[in-house]
């Protein structure tokens, strides 16, 4: 009987112990005690050498309990902006934590924005926090902003609650167009580990239209060694996308003597050959194989369908070649290896790379580039001929 009592007592004790210890009460975090961060912006402080960290935080209550005299809209701003300055991101976050009633929760961060000032100064020293902290995720898309990043976060958008989420969705859509648009923190770090490569990061700018503030992706920032050395506008970005291949929903805009044509991409494949010459020079050849459909035609008066097809094919091919060459020349002028050619040489011929890597910047700007494009126009849309063509009007 005694033994049985002992066993029951021991079991109860163990149950109690394990229940208490397993509930994780030491680490309990309730939803209403958290600030859920949806966007993070890092800027250079205007007056000091420090960093300004702005966090966009979502409000977790459904109704903003405000009894203010603000009678305009009920569901106004669903986000709050928290700002702090510090030498490093972690210091800023620490300061924010000290002065706020809730704990910051970074796991749901949707975007990280770097101000262009900061990007030009250098980003390498500020990345360590993102690498170490378990809460910050490596698949967060990164952006560079035109102007201070905190202004972008402060933009009050119509259709989305928070700019962070908006940007994340925009990038998700753009990545359908080309995977080049979605640069995750991991990709950014991966590129920075290669000292000789440059990485492209989408640039965001804000603008006003009819008194409404909007955001747009205005191009790509070229970052080499953690520092922004230039940018590509949207037109030049297309050249980069074409060179990378794997573009899906792309529109190629070709202007010829006879008229202007816009093509839809059905498929686009780009192959690249990198050859190291005996005398140390580098030859790069791009071969683009594209299947396009006619999206829209303007002009081409009095041409018949067969002439038109050959004309359009030539126009598309020239357009592709020109765009890639244009972007490549820009990269060469900045000595920024955005195409990862150095990386490819390192991967495939590491011994030869060892010899040339110190001189890579010069070698890169002397690259001999050849672009070949082969276009097949396989669709014309719903109609075969346009009104302006021969046989369009009778």
């Amino acid at each position: 009987m005694r033994r049985r009592k002992k066993r029951i007592a021991a079991t109860l004790f163990m149950t109690f112990l394990l229940t208490v210890l397993f509930s994780g009460c030491w680490d309990s975090r309730e939803m209403d005690s958290l600030f859920i961060v949806t966007g993070m912006a890092l800027d250079k402080s205007p007056d000091s050498d420090e960093l300004t960290i702005t966090l966009q935080v979502g409000k977790t209550q459904s109704k903003a309990a405000s009894s203010s005299s603000d009678s305009s809209s009920e569901e106004k701003n669903m986000t709050i902006l928290l700002k702090a300055s510090g030498d490093t991101p972690l210091e800023g976050i620490k300061r924010l934590n000290l002065n706020s009633s809730r704990a910051l929760f970074l796991e749901h961060n949707q975007a990280v924005l770097f101000g262009s000032d900061l990007a030009r100064q250098g980003l390498k020293e500020y990345i360590d926090f993102f690498l170490r902290d378990y809460e910050s995720r490596m698949e967060v898309p990164v952006f560079v902003t035109e102007g201070p990043a905190e202004k972008i976060l402060a933009v009050d958008l119509e259709q989305e609650q928070s700019t962070g989420m908006y940007l994340e969705r925009v990038i998700q859509d753009l990545s359908e167009l080309s995977p080049a648009y979605k640069v995750r923190m991991l990709d950014f770090v991966s590129c920075m580990r290669d000292e000789n490569s440059a990485v492209l990061i989408p640039m965001v700018a804000s603008y006003e239209e009819e008194e409404l503030q909007k955001l747009q992706i205005c191009g790509m920032a070229i970052i080499q060694g953690g520092r922004m050395i230039g940018s590509l506008n949207n037109h030049e970005t297309l050249g980069y996308v074409l060179a990378k291949g794997k573009a899906k929903v792309l529109i190629i805009d070709a202007q010829g003597e006879k008229g202007r044509a816009l093509f839809n991409t059905i498929s686009l494949d780009t192959k690249r050959e990198v050859k190291l010459k005996e005398n140390g020079g580098v030859q790069v050849k791009y071969s683009v194989d594209a299947k396009l459909g006619i999206g829209e035609l303007k002009g081409f008066a009095d041409m018949d369908i067969l002439e038109l097809m050959s004309e359009l094919t030539k126009m598309a091919e020239n357009q592709i070649k020109e765009q890639i060459t244009e972007t490549f020349e820009k990269a060469k002028s900045l000595q920024a290896d955005i195409f990862g050619i150095g990386k490819e040489i390192y991967r495939r011929q590491p011994k030869k790379w060892e010899k040339i890597k110190d001189n890579w910047d010069n070698l890169f700007s002397d690259i001999e580039l050849t672009v070949e494009a082969k276009v097949l126009i396989s669709e014309t849309g719903k109609s075969l001929i346009s009104l302006e063509m021969q046989g369009g009007t009778r």
């Binding site: 163990m14 112990l17 394990l18 210890l21 397993f22 994780g24 030491w26 680490d27 690498l131 378990y134 995720r137 490596m138 698949e139 998700q172 995750r184 991991l186 770090v189 991966s190 580990r193 290669d194 490819e344 390192y346 991967r347 495939r348 590491p350 011994k351």
Partner: protein, 366 residues
């Protein structure tokens, strides 16, 4: 078996081995830190290199079917040297158990429960494990098949989910590191994940195994584990590329990056769950083996009352082992392979040779 009367089937033995090795596939950081993108080659080489030693273990199991390691050592080397070696192995099992326990505690502390002190998590784990150990090998091995299947399922699922992110150029350049790294890498791979087959020498007396089955189950279990580790390494390198040596737990990063459509993302919870399950199993086995070693060494008939004491020792000893992660990693990459070689490779091989020479076991008249 004299001490623990429980018996397990050959299949359960195999699942125990498989689960044990699968647990090792989750902690690959110390390997990727050395050989970076060539780690998968090292894993392959390591698994092949450890096969002869696995065979030595099998020989011992078959030659002494109902004697565990300590008993074998006494018989082969005589009572004095056997006891000394036994004490050394006690230290070995204690250390490996503590290391794994600390890995589990630190991982939980770092990722999920950041404010709970890691000794608390370690103590809780040991408490639960002690329930299993108290009942003997039957309960310890009971969940082996279940855990192995869950682990295999999660492993396959997680690999399929990141297949769209694997880039072949992440494996290049191949063989561009200094040769010493490859030697070190192969050595680490042979001793740390694969070399722990010596643990099973304490368990095999409890398993109902025929001579043929011993080899079959041992190598099958090993194959499952080795395959898991190999594919995990391949997958992590393919997804993470040149960042694979940055992270403390690369597989966690890989699963964090899963992004299949808008719904399937943030799947690292799968990894955390399976990590805890598998590592808990491994710790329970090691805990049991340690307790059994103590009992066997000192001829104690019933080990029931040793359990919590040994458990507390494992926890406390574990805390003293590595004060910080840098020393942990450096030691794991540089020192541990050398130390474990003695216990895992050298002594088993020597023992099986000596046993052959001395024509043991001496057949006693029934």
């Amino acid at each position: 078996m004299r001490i623990d009367k429980g018996r397990i089937s050959g299949l359960q033995f195999m699942f125990l081995i498989a689960c044990y090795y699968q647990a090792s596939s989750l902690l690959t950081a110390f390997q990727t830190g050395v050989t970076k993108q060539d780690t998968w080659i090292m894993v392959l080489i390591g698994s092949i290199l450890s096969l002869p030693f696995l065979w030595a273990v099998r020989t011992l199991m078959v030659t002494f079917p109902d004697k565990n390691l300590i008993q074998i050592l006494s018989e082969v080397y005589g009572p004095v040297i056997g006891k000394i070696l036994g004490l050394l192995y006690l230290w070995y099992f204690l250390t490996v158990a503590s290391l794994n326990l600390m890995d589990l505690a630190d991982f939980t502390k770092g990722t999920i429960m950041t404010r709970t002190p890691s000794p608390v998590m370690a103590a809780v784990c040991i408490l639960v494990a002690s329930i299993a150990v108290r009942r003997g090998i039957r309960l310890v091995a009971k969940y082996g098949p279940l855990f192995t299947i869950i682990a295999a399922f999660i492993f396959v699922l997680s690999t399929l989910l990141v297949v769209n992110q694997i880039k072949l150029e992440h494996y290049l350049p191949i063989f561009s590191l200094p040769p010493k790294k490859y030697l070190q890498g192969a050595h680490i791979s042979t001793t740390i994940p694969f070399g722990e087959h010596i643990t099973f020498l304490m368990i095999h007396p409890a398993a109902l195994l025929s001579r043929r089955d011993t080899g079959k189950y041992l190598f099958l279990g090993f194959a499952v584990g080795a395959l898991t580790l190999f594919i995990t390494t391949l997958r992590d390198i393919g997804v993470l590329g040149n960042t694979v040596d940055l992270f403390t737990v690369p597989s966690l990063m890989t699963l964090r990056l899963v992004h299949v459509g808008p719904t399937i993302s943030r799947t690292e919870i799968l990894f955390s769950v399976i990590f805890m399950i598998l590592l808990f199993f491994k710790i329970t086995v090691l805990f049991y083996v340690t307790v059994l070693t103590v009992a066997q060494l000192f001829n104690i008939k019933s080990y029931q009352h040793l359990i919590l004491t040994v458990g507390s020792l494992i926890v406390v000893y574990g805390i003293t082992l590595y004060p910080n992660p840098q020393k942990h990693a450096a030691s794991a990459q540089e020192v541990e392979p050398v130390i474990w070689t003695l216990f895992e490779l050298f002594i088993p091989l020597l023992t099986s040779i000596v046993a052959k020479i001395r024509k043991l076991p001496k057949v006693k008249e029934a």
